[in-house]
């Protein structure tokens, strides 16, 4: 079955340090990969996506993500975290083989950036 995993429930990082949020997915044809961020009492905001081409994708607010086909991963990164990056982050995947194109979301990773 197709699945998405975010292995860390929470990531703690000091402001100014690099931030990484991990995402892995099951292999089932070509994946289309997305990252979203959710602030309290808000909907999900789109950060970036990988469809094809360059494995390194740059998105909003200084975030980037690297698609690694051999490791079936799509980790989200930011070189220097801000306190305002504290939020809930979701990885989502669609598979080319899924005719319905249903998004599978990970369980989410809470990011806490301390001053």
């Amino acid at each position: 079955a197709q699945s998405v995993a975010q292995p860390e429930d929470q990531v703690n990082v000091a402001e100014g340090n690099p931030l990484t949020v991990k995402c892995t997915y099951s292999v089932s044809g070509n994946p289309y990969l997305f990252w979203y961020v959710q602030y309290p009492n808000r909907g999900l905001q789109f950060l970036l996506k990988y469809i094809t081409g360059d494995n390194l994708v740059k998105g909003s607010y200084g975030f980037e993500a690297e698609f690694n086909k051999s490791q079936t991963s799509f980790h989200l990164k930011k070189p220097s975290a801000l306190v305002s990056d504290s939020a809930l982050y979701f990885c989502a995947v669609r598979w080319e083989t899924d005719s319905w194109g249903k998004f599978q979301f990970g369980a989410g990773t809470q990011v806490v950036v301390t001053p």
Binding site: R42, G43, W100, F103, G108
Partner: protein, 116 residues
């Protein structure tokens, strides 16, 4: 450009009462989604519309949930009767093209439902 609009933002009802949520997608977006998000979890798809047609409603509990998207624009999601376990956030999202796997989904702020 206005984003996805949802109303109400919050709703508190007694169990067994009906409730309805409304969504207005981004103008020109053909595909509309309703998701359920439980606390601390990722969204789960309830139903997807391509224009007026519900093309994926396999996760919609049809005994109590119903949805419609008349004229292919606004949509309503209804629960009747509501149960305690329905307490969650109901998210609406839209994307531009029908049948596209690569289009970004844009989410509304959600409706937080509390069933007492």
């Amino acid at each position: 450009e206005a984003g996805v609009v949802q109303s109400p933002r919050y709703k508190i009802i007694e169990k067994k009462q009906p409730v309805a949520f409304w969504c207005n997608p981004i103008s020109g977006h053909n595909t509309l989604y309703w998701y359920l998000q439980n606390l601390g979890q990722g969204p789960e798809l309830l139903i997807r519309y391509e224009n007026e047609e519900a093309v994926d409603d396999s996760q919609l509990p049809k005994d109590r949930f119903s949805a419609e998207r008349l004229k292919g624009v606004d949509s309503t999601l209804k629960i009747q009767p509501a149960e305690l376990g329905d307490s969650a956030v109901y998210l609406c999202a839209s994307s531009l093209r029908s049948g596209s796997l690569t289009d970004t989904q844009y989410f509304g702020p959600g409706t937080r439902l509390t069933v007492l």
